[in-house]
């Protein structure tokens, strides 16, 4: 196409063209800029705030001799496994919460009629933020038959009083076991107990995996075992597959072992464990904990 026109008209036409070009290029660039503006917006949802679990009152008793009322709280009704326990101590007359200067020792007992035995416990520690005394107990079997009691011995250092509170409660077997046990390949008299601490709220993705391992030294003595190596292999038994990049738990103190278990989907996972002693000899390769979630 050839355009014949004088240079004047040509120039003004070129000017008009330039203006029009600019106008429409402006529209184009606006569209593009709108696009860039969109990508700067932060569309991520805010992370949900973790909600502190509401504590359940399991039992309340007076520590006879101290004038103190002890309330035994837990995150759930007592179950076979690792139970986190919170004691709130109040003056039985004033109702005031006692914040410190107490020494509390605990002794859980299972009475099966012909025999009595205890179970693993942890030290009672005061939590200054919540004003509670915290501990944990691994109830190794359910009530029925047999009864569980918990004796809390309280020494009040501020006035020298001391007394004992005796709690009665039921321990249930949860639908999915949170405790498993094994006998050592190397020593048939050595029994070990593995209780699941985390995850309490499993999700797809990386989960902190924490367990406590105790050994039954005697009916009354259940010390924690710090010298083991634990290898985990999470599998889905219904599908025969595992997950990648799991981190074997390592000992972090007091018999607690912590690692990472990855779940690639919801459903029933079985955390298979291989337990070795300090020299690398296998104590068991046949123990597991199930975690099922939606």
């Amino acid at each position: 196409m050839v355009i014949n026109c004088s240079s004047d008209i040509k120039n003004s036409m070129i000017n008009i063209q330039k203006k029009m070009k600019k106008k429409y290029l402006f529209i184009l660039s606006t569209i593009v800029l709108l696009g860039f503006a969109n990508c700067n917006k932060d569309n991520n949802e805010p992370e949900p705030e973790p909600i502190a679990p509401v504590q359940i009152l399991v039992s309340e008793e007076y520590a006879i001799g101290t004038g103190l009322k002890i309330s035994y709280y837990s995150d759930e009704d007592p179950f076979v496994g690792y139970n986190k326990i919170y004691f709130t101590v109040k003056d039985s007359i004033t109702g005031e919460t006692i914040s410190n200067d107490l020494e509390i020792t605990i002794l859980p007992m299972m009475d099966m009629g012909t025999t009595q035995h205890s179970c693993p416990t942890e030290a009672v520690v005061h939590n200054s933020e919540t004003n509670q005394y915290e501990t944990a107990i691994v109830y190794v079997m359910p009530s029925n038959p047999g009864t569980w009691t918990l004796t809390a011995t309280v020494i009040n250092n501020s006035n020298g009083d001391s007394g004992v509170a005796l709690f009665n409660f039921d321990v249930v077997q949860p639908d999915e076991a949170k405790l498993t046990s094994f006998v050592s390949n190397l020593d048939p008299t050595a029994s070990y107990f593995i209780s699941l601490i985390q995850p309490t709220d499993p999700k797809v993705g990386e989960n902190e995996f924490e367990i406590l391992i105790n050994r039954r030294a005697s009916m009354m003595s259940w010390p924690y075992e710090p010298y083991l190596t634990v290898e985990i292999d999470p599998q889905m038994p219904a599908m025969n597959h595992g997950s990648p990049n799991n981190v074997n738990p390592v000992h972090i103190g007091n018999g607690h072992y912590k690692g990472v278990a990855n779940f690639t989907m919801t459903g029933w996972w079985r955390i298979n464990m291989l337990i070795k002693d300090g020299e690398g000899s296998v104590l068991t390769d046949d123990v597991y904990l199930d975690i099922t979630f939606q």
């Binding site: 196409m1 529209i27 184009l28 993705g205 219904a238 997950s243 990648p244």
Partner: protein
């Protein structure tokens, strides 16, 4: 009236190269068009749409360089010269649209009916990139627009039956024109049972049923401004996929757009248009029809895309023909998998974990007529993309593999194409093409989570750190054109960098029962792809003869042949024409494919050849009737193409009848 038609056609075909002879449609191997019902005088019509019954993809397959990967009898995946899915930019009217199935069971060509189509533009020339980056080329399915020249109400009704699958289809369209508005409404219904192969055996899981509805409205109040509204609804159900372990219970798409076009008749700008659009696809895989599955699964998928684009086309100036486009879209993809075992709680996971991808691009092209003998076409495109997983739960999935997906991934790609075209003399044309092409990794390649590939039986995991694939392309084509005789030969070579492929990770254990292992998408150093398309085309008054030959070959840096490369294939269609009828025998065949990519689970395929015979009879009075009948695979050959997954045999001898009534 004639001027108006020409004008409308000119608007529609503005992507064509210069020097187009409007009396006879030329075959330009770099750009092919398929013409629908209206243009029966087009000599290519018989070649592309000989069987009115055929699906969109069958017409597409006739385009040189295009093959189809078949996973069953429905929704094959278009392949351009051996480039597939993420490497080919498949659009509808320039709109970006993506399938909702993680296993590629629904390439978007499956949501468009032949009744919706005006033309299919496929190729890799300069203007292809206006619709987006496409490493291996672009395929733009242009939907039919109301025919603005018809008076009053017009339309057609067509119905057909085919024996091979007890298949029945009916299609209708009704259009109207008045002073203010033109409209076109169409509907299609298809129903097919399982078909029989060349050995007389029924092939299970090859059935499908679908319905499609579309509405198009165009404003008529002015020749300077037009407002257009388009809507397509497509719904397929009870669809079998013989080569896959699952079928599809439901695949539905809603595709809609609103455009404004402004035409100028006396300024340097020819046209500007602005379109805003959206599409929503839902796809549900289903294994309830399969008797023996290791584990039952529900697998729904969602793909939603919203975007807008604006075009500015300039009138020719000093031989230049400039065009600009700005384009942006956002795409959301989510796919779930729930597995049911008899003795366990249901297992739920996301295979596309709430992916969001935003892409914006700018395109500029010039078709420069330097002089009477030489044209230089060139174009430039830049795209910026931002991809992310939309929430923490989605990110947790990919974190399991140690990926850092806290922040979105930003990527930029460039596409530059230069096409010198030399007219040696009135008969001979010599065209070259040099290009830098890049494409973004697909959302599956970036964020896919245990996507099972039935071809090699591996679970695939995405890789957020993948770089865009990049290609340097060189191409040359020689055309000899007389008014009734064309011969064309195009040879091409691609050097590919960061070629994306799944690589076995021996440390990962598979998830899908029966899977051989896990592959993670990685970038290979380089790969190359080469081949040619040849066509010879005679069109005389009494007969026409179209021949197309395709070949592709390529290897990666491990000296292994690239996956999904079709072997040398020939299509030869001869049509004998008379005033009221035509008859068209044709042969289609391919040589054997021996060299295969073992790591992709490919199996070699034998050579095959089939013959088809089609006939049409036209009755043109006040209303037009077309009667069609044909026999496909006349000799009832048992065959399958190399790209057919699972070596599922194709249809045996098929008799079909179509009747079309136009008013």
């Amino acid at each position: 009236m004639k001027k108006q038609i020409f004008f409308v056609l000119a608007i529609l075909y503005c992507y064509n190269t210069n020097g187009q002879d409007t009396t006879l449609k030329q075959i330009d191997l770099q750009e092919f068009t398929v013409v629908e019902f209206e243009n029966e005088d087009d000599p290519l019509n018989e070649y592309f749409r000989g069987n009115r019954f055929s699906m969109t993809e069958n017409a597409m397959e006739r385009i040189p360089a295009i093959s189809l990967i078949s996973r069953g009898n429905y929704a094959p995946e278009p392949v351009y010269r051996g480039f597939s899915s993420g490497q080919v930019n498949l659009t509808i009217d320039g709109m970006h649209i993506f399938g909702a199935c993680t296993d590629k069971m629904d390439p978007v060509s499956s949501y468009i009916e032949t009744n919706n189509l005006q033309e299919i533009e496929a190729g890799n020339e300069v203007n292809c990139n206006s619709n987006g980056a496409g490493l291996g080329g672009c395929i733009d399915m242009k939907t039919v627009k109301p025919n603005l020249t018809k008076k009053g109400v017009y339309g057609s009704l067509s119905s057909g039956y085919q024996t091979i699958s007890n298949g029945f289809n009916v299609a209708t369209s009704i259009g109207f024109n008045n002073k203010f508005i033109s409209g076109l409404f169409s509907g299609t219904f298809r129903s097919n049972d399982n078909y029989t192969d060349g050995n007389g055996n029924k092939v299970d899981y090859t059935q499908f049923t679908k319905a499609n509805f579309s509405a198009k409205l165009v404003s008529n109040f002015s020749n300077f401004h037009r407002i257009k509204f388009d809507y397509i609804y497509d719904n397929a159900w009870d669809v079998g996929y013989a080569a896959l372990p699952m079928d599809v219970s439901l695949a539905k798409a809603s595709i809609y757009s609103l455009s404004y076009e402004r035409y100028f008749f006396s300024s340097s700008i020819k046209e500007i248009d602005f379109t805003i659009y959206g599409n929503n696809i839902y796809h549900e895989m289903d294994d309830s029809q399969r008797p023996d599955v290791p584990i039952r699964m529900d697998m729904p998928g969602w793909s939603d895309t919203y975007g807008a684009f604006a075009n500015v086309k300039f009138r020719g100036l000093n031989g230049h023909d400039f065009s600009f486009k700005g384009d942006g879209f956002v795409h959301f993809a989510r796919a779930e998998m729930t597995m049911y075992a008899s003795d366990a709680a249901p297992m739920f996971m996301l295979t596309w974990p709430d992916i969001q991808r935003f892409v914006t691009g700018l395109f500029a092209s010039d078709l420069w007529s330097v002089n009477d003998y030489f044209n230089l076409d060139y174009s430039l495109r830049y795209d910026y993309s931002n991809s992310r997983l939309q929430n923490e739960a989605a990110k947790d999935y990919l974190r399991v593999f140690g990926y850092d997906v806290d922040e979105p991934i930003s990527q930029s790609i460039w596409n530059i194409v230069i096409e010198p075209k030399l007219k040696l003399n009135p008969l001979w044309n010599l065209n070259w093409l040099a290009a830098l092409k890049q494409r973004l990794p697909t959302v599956s390649e970036q964020y896919g989570f245990y996507l099972f590939n039935a071809q090699d039986a591996y679970d695939y995991i995405g890789n957020p750190s993948l770089d865009p694939e990049s290609a340097l392309q060189a191409e040359m084509s020689v055309n000899y054109k007389r008014t009734t005789f064309n011969v064309s030969l195009t040879g091409f070579y691609y050097h590919l960098d960061n070629y994306i492929v799944g690589v076995i990770d021996p440390d990962l254990s598979p998830m899908t029962i029966g899977s051989n292992g896990v592959k993670v998408y990685q970038s290979l150093d380089y790969a190359y792809m080469t081949g040619f398309e040849a066509s010879a085309f005679i069109s005389k008054e009494k007969f026409s003869w179209v021949n197309v030959l395709n070949f592709t070959y390529g290897k990666d840096s491990n000296d292994e042949i690239l996956p999904q490369l079709p072997p040398l294939k020939l299509t030869s269609t001869f049509t004998l024409k008379a005033k009221n009828w035509d008859i068209s025998p044709e042969i289609v065949g391919a040589i054997s494919k021996e060299e295969i990519r073992v790591s992709f689970g490919e199996k070699s395929a034998p050579a095959w050849l089939i013959a088809n015979l089609r006939a049409s009879y036209y009755l043109k009075k006040k209303t037009n009737w077309t009667f069609q009948a044909g026999i496909e695979n006349i000799f009832d050959n048992y065959y399958y193409e190399f790209l057919d997954w699972g070596q599922i045999p194709r249809q045996g001898v098929n008799l079909y009848f179509n009747v079309t009534f136009q008013f």
